[in-house]
């Protein structure tokens, strides 16, 4: 049980920072290299790497190194799992409603 509490703390901490939230947002579009992720930020690489490490430790992202390039990807299962089944369902229905809304409003604009 303590282990779960610890994990939750890590996730909240990871999300408490705007840089880290931006990284998560970017990774929502697909995996990216650390270099590409760091680009929009006016920040030295070692500082940026601290954010990446924190996200990785929280389990929200995973990274893998191929040659000299470290690639980051979102751990989607983790996002759903930590919230419990109801949050996962909520997420599914929110996204579903977003798509419905987009579908019917786009269609209207097209007329």
């Amino acid at each position: 049980m303590e282990q779960y509490q610890h994990q939750l703390d890590g996730i909240f901490q990871a999300l408490a920072d705007p840089t880290r939230r931006a990284v998560i947002g970017r990774l929502g579009k697909g995996p990216a290299s650390v270099g590409a992720l760091a680009e929009p930020f006016d920040m030295a690489l070692p500082s940026f790497m601290k954010h990446i490490h924190m996200l990785e430790q929280s389990g929200l992202i995973r990274t893998s190194k191929l040659g000299r390039v470290r690639t980051c990807a979102l751990e989607a299962a983790r996002l759903a799992a930590v919230g419990g089944w109801l949050s996962a369902q909520q997420q599914i229905w929110e996204s579903r409603t977003d798509r419905l809304e987009q579908f019917v409003t786009d269609k209207e604009q097209g007329k």
Partner: protein
């Protein structure tokens, strides 16, 4: 019929959609339109049956991407249909009122007129899954739902 929300088992989404009620209704009842928003890209879905009347079947299949093999997604039964206003369906039954193997949810979709378009509401009621008690003991619920929803929004919009 009215339904009550159990915060531990149910979820509710209310939203004003800036489109006419008829357009939202069509998106829910016309298979070709329904298929365009029911699952997130790159997944694709196929509407096997969509008999929008009480006792009618609603069966969808899903594939990981265009060209991939389809597998089961949703098999449900419409319970109530009020043209342009309300759809109630459940996966506790399949078409023709037959009891389903794994009942899990009943959804109540309500559409109403609104100055800006349509007042949309989705109420989704769930059966308690086996792991619920464990999650509750761990205190997973307090405040966490909001964070997850925001996170999902963040991921979806890429902002």
């Amino acid at each position: 019929m009215t339904e009550t929300l159990n915060p531990e088992l149910d979820l509710e989404i209310t939203r004003v959609i800036k489109a006419p009620r008829a357009a939202v209704w069509a998106a829910w009842t016309d298979p070709a339109r329904f298929a365009k928003w029911w699952v997130p890209a790159p997944e694709v879905c196929r509407i096997v049956r969509m008999e929008v009347r009480p006792g009618g079947a609603m069966v969808t299949e899903i594939a990981a991407s265009e060209g991939a093999a389809f597998g089961p997604h949703m098999s449900a039964c419409y319970l109530e249909v009020v043209e342009g206003q309300r759809i109630v369906f459940t996966n506790a039954l399949t078409g023709g009122w037959r009891p389903a193997e794994q009942p899990f949810m009943t959804a109540v979709i309500t559409l109403a007129e609104h100055d800006l378009g349509t007042a949309y509401r989705a109420l989704v009621m769930h059966k308690s899954p086996a792991d619920r008690t464990m999650h509750q003991e761990l205190g997973f619920y307090d405040g966490w739902g909001t964070v997850t929803a925001q996170l999902a929004a963040l991921v979806e919009t890429g902002r």
